[in-house]
């Protein structure tokens, strides 16, 4: 492995070519690879086996926590901390707790979805080696990139580059650290 190289990147001009190239790279045995696209591509999830992530679980936990917080907060305030007789209702008047319990479930669920998204993606990450490729700015416009990372056991700058060149790539370049 050559020092100071993050990986090798190939550029494609349509999503179909990128998906076939990614599949070909997976079939060659490369695992440490990532695709960069200007919009989500369903088929890449199939190719890269990305269908499962932990976000739903995080949101479920966040939502449950929010619901519990809402209910217990109201229970604590109306029954223990500040009991007050309003219209002769029982102190533990659960039907009137429903709204706030629901709202806090949604609030905590939504916030954990956002924080979970950032956490699972490792964002904010202002610096990343892929930004060193001059043409990479087109990844947020109309170009599709596949990067095979140096961390992959099969990685070899020469071999991987020539492999990527066989895949209808418009351009293949090394990614500096």
């Amino acid at each position: 492995m050559k020092e100071g190289v993050y990986g090798v990147m190939a550029e494609f001009d349509n999503p179909g070519a990128l998906v076939s190239a990614t599949r070909a790279a997976r079939e060659q045995g490369y695992r440490k690879l990532d695709a960069y696209t200007p919009f989500p591509i369903e088929e890449l999830n199939d190719v890269m086996h990305l269908h499962k992530n932990k976000l739903p679980l995080i949101v479920l936990c966040g939502g449950l926590l929010g619901g519990l917080t809402g209910y217990l907060l109201q229970y604590f305030v109306t029954v223990i901390y500040f009991p007050i007789n309003i219209g002769g209702r029982p102190l533990h008047s659960w039907p009137s707790y429903i709204i706030i319990t629901f709202e806090l479930t949604i609030l905590f669920g939504a916030l954990s979805a956002v924080l979970g998204l950032l956490g699972l993606c490792g964002l904010p990450m202002p610096y990343h080696p892929v930004f060193n490729v001059p043409r990479f700015s087109a990844a947020s416009r109309d170009r599709f990139f596949l990067c095979i990372e140096a961390a992959d056991p099969l990685f070899d700058v020469e071999k991987t580059s020539s492999f990527l060149s066989t895949l209808e790539a418009k351009e293949v370049s090394e990614v500096a650290h």
Partner: protein, 461 residues
């Protein structure tokens, strides 16, 4: 990178995006509004009007802080007056944005992709305007934080059995969730702006906001899950917010308020006025910025259809409301509705019936829905009608309730009007800042609408 030549045909009637767009030209056209194009006169005019009206809001808020809520026309028994009318109106307008961004996403309505961004921004700013009113209406607005339960030296806590406290939680949750949903939607487009801007300051600002988004497939996969989950959470939320707002009325025993169909009636009315606002914003924006290829006549027509459908629900509610008043056998309910129709506010009542029920029937005609100018006019008519509806519900019921000796009419003062128009100014001010500084159409979602975005069958494994 040299921008590509735009070759766009006029969109066909049924198309949600004009033919001839490429990933590049979509990106260029939408980001050009923010990055390169010279700001049109329309922007300066609208922003200027908003800015001026906003000054009116500031002056009336300062006066209100100094002198108290007596500067408004609220006198016993009509203590809610304009403030709560405006609150309900604004928060209703916000609902269409969440409907477009969340509910239509879950229903897989692709046409929403080009209108969801600015509709969500509309939601955010409408909720901001709405939130001002209950706070200003408090009498001592600087103590607004007393609404939240927190440990305090007074040893007093909010009454969780009150719908007004539920409202605090519903509206603040709605504002927060709308804001994060909107921001999450913006992240990939902020990345696009970061990569496209030539301005160093812009590069830093967009770069920091984009948080290093690089369009990685691993990120997109989580991102898509997050969008779905946020939509799933925002959908019941948006329905709950106006429901809770309607509880402010239904849980009271005031005649004309105390009824069980207020929640669906309020939610339908909210979406009705919200789509009217979407049209009122989309129609001028698309012609000024030449976005007819992205916000096509199909979008306007669909919004017109949603307005028609929700308008019919509202019409049904008016009829049921009146029928139930009669059928209830309660003289107070009957009196309240008789007063609405023939009493001191009869003009406003029949005007709102004309705006909300009679006028929108024109939307049945395809020719009418095809004409942006007519749609624009009808959206303004509906917005006025819906404002009057809230005014009618609040003012007429409070002015004439059970005891005729306590009856008294509401007269709006100039500060009522200044505050109301001031929030319209705040809305325009924020909205046009948004149009100038952020992409008003979701670039990455519109890219997925292109035929080129489909990966062909031959590569499927």
């Amino acid at each position: 990178m040299a921008d590509e030549q735009q070759v766009i045909e006029k969109p066909e009637a049924h198309e949600i995006i004009a033919r001839g767009y490429t990933f590049g030209t979509i990106t260029d056209q939408i980001s050009a509004v923010v990055l390169t194009k010279r700001t049109p006169l329309f922007w300066f005019a609208s922003f200027g009007v908003g800015f001026l009206l906003l000054q009116g809001l500031l002056v009336s808020a300062v006066l209100l802080f100094g002198k108290g809520v007596g500067i408004w026309g609220i006198r016993t028994p009509v203590m809610w007056g304009f403030a709560i009318t405006n609150f309900v109106w604004w928060i209703g307008i916000g609902h269409a944005g969440t409907l477009i961004s969340a509910i239509l996403l879950l229903l897989n309505q692709k046409w929403r992709n080009s209108i969801n961004r600015f509709a969500e921004a509309m939601t955010l700013f409408a909720v901001a305007c709405a939130g001002l009113f209950p706070i200003l209406h408090m009498g001592r607005p600087w103590l607004a934080y007393w609404l939240f339960p927190y440990p305090n030296s007074m040893m007093v806590e909010p009454n969780f059995r009150s719908p007004l406290v539920w409202d605090v939680f519903a509206v603040s949750t709605y504002a927060t969730v709308s804001a994060v949903f909107w921001f999450v939607g913006l992240i990939p487009d902020l990345g696009t702006l970061r990569d496209r801007t030539k301005n160093l300051f812009g590069k830093y600002v967009y770069g920091i906001l984009a948080m290093g988004w690089r369009g990685s497939a691993r990120h997109w996969s989580v991102y898509e899950t997050a969008s779905l989950l946020l939509s799933g959470l925002a959908t019941p939320l948006v329905l709950s917010v106006h429901t809770v707002v309607s509880f402010d009325f239904t849980i009271a025993i005031v005649p004309g308020w105390h009824s069980t169909f207020f929640p669906p009636y309020f939610v339908a009315g909210a979406i009705y006025s919200g789509f009217a606002m979407v049209l009122a914003l989309a129609i001028p924006l698309r012609s000024v910025y030449g976005l007819q290829g992205l916000i096509t006549d199909r979008h306007l027509e669909n919004s017109g259809k949603v307005m028609l459908a929700t308008g019919l629900i509202v019409a049904y509610s008016y009829i049921m409301e009146t029928f139930m008043a009669w059928y209830s056998g309660s003289v107070y309910e009957q009196q309240a509705f008789w007063n609405r129709m023939t009493g001191p506010y009869a003009f406003q009542y029949w005007f709102l019936v004309t705006c909300n029920i009679v006028a929108p029937q024109l939307l049945w005609f395809k020719k009418f829905r095809k004409s942006p100018v007519l749609l624009f006019i009808s959206s303004i008519v509906v917005l006025s009608g819906m404002w009057l509806e809230r005014f009618m519900i609040i003012v007429s019921s409070l002015a004439q309730d059970y005891v005729p000796s306590s009856w008294s009419l509401f007269r709006a003062t100039r500060w009522d009007w200044a505050t109301y128009w001031g929030t319209i100014g705040l809305f325009l001010f924020l909205f046009f800042l948004f149009v100038r500084l952020l992409p008003m159409i979701s670039i990455f979602e519109v890219r997925t609408l292109l035929p080129q975005a489909k990966v062909g069958e031959e590569v499927k494994g």
